[in-house]
């Protein structure tokens, strides 16, 4: 690709105050899900199930890195606990979900993280498989930005597998 049309830039989020003086920054979650699951549908038909999962995971990774750069980094988290606090507050304020740490082995960089009331899946019908591949990438992007290391983040419990909270295991990728 010689010249890209859709290279991401934080400025693409736009000036919402100017652009939506009456409606503001929020929308109904159903609309977001409508868009996301339609994307999945169309992408799956073109690229297969694994292909669409990879695309969502990769997009999540990019989003996580951008989120860290633009939302987290300015707060200069002094340590992992400060990072967690900033994530908890910002993700909740933005209505993304209730982010929490279940376990953190800092010496091994091995984490169990949960997101309840998740933007992508909470309230979905039971599907028998985990759907939050975008979240896997997103959390991986945050951890990569914070530690400078690659992480493999895997969702082990999801609303769509009848669980109340989405649980993610994040482990360092062997270098």
């Amino acid at each position: 690709m010689s010249e890209r049309k859709y290279a991401f830039s934080w400025s693409l989020l736009g000036d919402i105050a100017a652009g939506r003086p009456n409606l503001g920054p929020t929308l109904r979650l159903e609309v977001y899900r409508l868009m996301q699951f339609c994307f999945r549908d169309v992408l799956e038909k073109r690229y297969g199930t694994d292909g669409v999962d990879d695309i969502f995971r990769e997009a999540g990774l990019l989003a996580g890195e951008e989120y860290y750069k633009n939302i987290i980094a300015p707060t200069k988290p002094a340590d992992f606990a400060a990072l967690v606090s900033t994530l908890e507050v910002s993700l909740r304020n933005l209505g993304v979900g209730v982010f929490r740490v279940e376990r953190a082995k800092l010496d091994e960089l091995d984490f169990v993280l949960t997101v309840s009331e998740d933007l992508d899946c909470s309230g979905l019908p039971e599907l028998g498989y985990e759907t939050c591949v975008y979240d896997e990438g997103f959390l991986g992007g945050i951890l990569k930005s914070y530690t400078g290391r690659e992480f493999k983040v895997r969702e082990v419990d999801c609303w769509c597998t009848s669980d109340r909270t989405c649980r993610f295991e994040a482990r360092l990728v062997a270098e």
Binding site: A81, A82, S85, V98, R100, V101, E102, R103, A104, V112, T114, S116, E126, D157, T161, S162, D163, R164, T165, R167
Partner: protein, 348 residues
């Protein structure tokens, strides 16, 4: 009970009841039920839930829980809450008092209340620490001020002490200090076999005439010139003092008669070589020196230091008298029999 009832295969519901009611029920579906997949799935999910509840009952909630389904989901939610609560508590223990918990009902309220209370107490402690630090600093300042005052007092005391020991015109020691120090030197010599010292009486020649001719201020300059010149020839252990008027006294410590005479001669020449104390007048200032020696070998140990000193001074004075009589501007060493009529005893 007949054979038929005793070997009756348990019904699925009976197996499930046993799983729920008895602690020794197996956690895997009992043999013989494999064909009923739905039963096996239900039995094993229930067994995992039972196992999870057992872990909760012994406060061990960091266990692996793989069951699926809504009921299992509730347990996972509880497990997640408890693990997060433990994480939050650890953060508080590490000093992070910005931790906050939601979605856990009374536990959230209790935790958040506890953290707020800790924060308030922490602020009180920090305020007390600041107060204590300020008080400590104030105390340090006061101590420093007191030390400075004490130092100033000591310096002032030392200044006054020095003034009481020194001659105000020349800055050299006065007669009182000379006697005090010289007597100590005499006592010290009594303890050191072979020790010697010299006593020098020094007088500015024709000083009365000098004063009458040039006036007292110029006379004072002459006195200062002589003392500063002599001072340049002395060692640290020597004791040099103004004896009175134009007369000075000097104790040369650890000095035999030959060395004492050489030093005295150097002093005389040094004063003589000065350009003079009178502005525009080359008239030199000269001094006469009388010298006596004190030797520990000839000291009578029974005599007190002041008595020995007095004799030595009298002898040096007698020698000075001889120097004056012989024409001034010279050093005269005491020779026995040269005393003028003061009835001095031969004790040295």
């Amino acid at each position: 009970m007949n054979d038929e009832t005793s070997h009756k295969k348990p019904e699925p519901l009976e197996l499930l009841e046993r799983l729920i009611m008895r602690h020794d029920a197996p956690l895997e579906a009992p043999p013989g039920t494999e064909a009923d997949e739905s039963f096996v799935r239900t039995y094993e999910t229930l067994a995992r839930i039972k196992n999870a509840l057992f872990h909760f009952s012994v406060s061990k909630w960091d266990f692996e829980f793989t069951a699926r389904g809504t009921t299992a989901g509730y347990i996972k939610m509880l497990q997640s809450n408890l693990n997060n609560l433990a994480w939050k508590c650890r953060q508080v223990a590490n000093g992070d008092l910005d931790q906050h918990i939601d979605f856990m009902g009374d536990i959230s309220d209790a935790f958040n209340g506890m953290v707020e209370s800790l924060k308030i107490k922490n602020e009180i402690v920090e305020a007390k620490q600041r107060e204590l630090t300020a008080m400590t600093q104030k105390l340090k300042n006061e101590i420093k001020k007191k030390e400075q005052t004490e130092e100033a007092l000591l310096a002032s005391e030392e200044m006054y002490r020095q003034r009481s020991l020194r001659d105000p015109l020349t800055g050299i020691y006065n007669r009182g200090y000379f006697f005090e120090s010289a007597e100590r030197e005499m006592e010290s010599m009594k303890r050191n076999e072979g020790a010697q010292c010299c006593i020098l009486m020094i007088d500015i020649d024709h000083f009365k005439k000098f004063n009458d001719t040039f006036g007292h201020p110029v006379g004072d300059e002459a006195i200062k010139l002589v003392t500063s010149t002599i001072n340049t020839t002395l060692r640290k252990a020597d004791i040099f003092a103004r004896y009175g008027g134009e007369e000075f006294i000097l104790l040369l410590a650890n000095t035999d008669i030959g060395t004492g005479a050489a030093i005295a001669e150097r002093m005389r020449l040094a004063v003589f070589s000065q350009p003079g104390a009178v502005p525009g007048n080359s008239l030199p200032v000269t001094i006469s020196i009388g010298l006596s020696v004190v030797s520990s070998n000839s000291l009578s140990l029974a005599l007190p230091g002041d008595r020995i000193l007095k004799t030595a001074i009298d002898r040096a004075d007698a020698a000075l008298y001889q120097a004056k009589a012989m024409g001034r501007n010279m050093v005269w060493i005491y020779q026995p029999g040269a005393e003028h009529a003061n009835g001095e005893e031969n004790i040295l």
